[in-house]
Symmetry: C2
Subunit: 207 residues, 2 copies
């Protein structure tokens, strides 16, 4: 599918095909869809992208995405400023915000430690997390990283870096999100490792 | 997933989510991918879209997409100018060109007759096809539309419109692409209608 009847069409398809999960056939379909739209629609699309890249900031405190220097969560007076939830990326902040169950602050690592992908502790925002603990007088760090080998490695590394604050005068608490059988899942279809751990890590039944 | 931490991010996600087959989660993933790219890359992406819409033409003869008023196929002196292949859309032109088996011209209808979608004969480029036959002295029209009910309806309608040229002095020939068992398919897994027709429409075996 590389004989495009128009160079401009080929260019646009090549651009879309650089996006993750978009192959050349899908890219062509998207471009032909845009081509059928009015000029103004395509112009809005293009300028949304340009403005995004030019004007979006990363919050200088938590590294969440923001229109300002400080993101709306870090700037909000309503949030619990002594709890920080550590997440891998911005999508995770949005997912946790959507639960409506968390009122603390965040810290976006921008990745997790993964030697196989060449991502070490210095490549993600761990130093800036450690640097926040004392000045901001954080009382609890909640580790909300993926429940994968890489997530566990990162949890372990962060825990070790935070150890001085845990044992020190600040008495920092480090917790991790609960792991177990997902709500609505049948035990029959839950994988063995999850089920096994959910028995070991059982919690007291309360009414 | 509608609490975007940035309005600009939300705008870009909304734009991507208007594309066919792209949901809000995928849109967010694509936008965050673009956000990680250098400024120049995003700028190239945006301007490819703008230029596409501003500068792309539809060939005034065959309605294929083109950088010029006349597309490269209609303009080529190497093509057989007496044969016209009728296709639904631009992707079909590209697919047939990729086979390397066709040296004639094309006519892109821009759709097929589909009453259920409100597409009638006047909504697609049938009049302009009929208008080409005499002045261009076309000898053969090849119908290469989808092998669906809509495709068959459109074939039938076009055939009726071309009837005067078939019976007239021009002795126009109207053919359709072969239908039958696809190359590499087991008969066992071929649907009954295709298999039944491929027996009725059997061709002479030649070495």
């Amino acid at each position: 599918m590389d004989n495009y009847p128009s160079i401009l069409l080929g260019n646009a398809v090549n651009q879309f095909a650089t996006l993750p999960g978009i192959g050349r056939k899908t890219a062509l379909r998207l471009v032909l869809h845009l081509l059928r739209q009015p000029q103004a629609t395509v112009q809005t699309f293009a300028s949304a992208l340009t403005e995004l890249k030019q004007n979006v900031h990363y919050c200088h405190i938590c590294h969440n995405i923001s229109d300002q220097e400080t993101c709306s969560i870090c700037a909000s007076p309503k949030r619990d400023r002594q709890t920080v939830c550590v997440v891998e990326n911005i999508q995770d902040v949005m997912s946790i915000e959507n639960t409506g169950q968390y009122i603390g602050l965040y810290h976006v690592l921008g990745g997790i430690i993964s030697p196989i992908d060449g991502v070490g502790p210095k490549d993600i925002e761990i130093d800036s997390l450690v640097a926040r603990i004392e000045p901001e007088q954080i009382k609890e760090v909640i580790l909300a990283l993926p429940t994968t080998m890489e997530g566990d490695t990162t949890n372990f590394y962060i825990y070790r870096r935070l150890a001085p604050f845990i044992e020190g005068a600040q008495q920092l608490k480090v917790s991790q999100i609960a792991r177990g059988v997902a709500v609505g899942n049948d035990l029959e279809y839950t994988d063995e490792i999850t089920l096994g751990r959910s028995i070991i890590n059982r919690t007291e039944f309360k009414l």
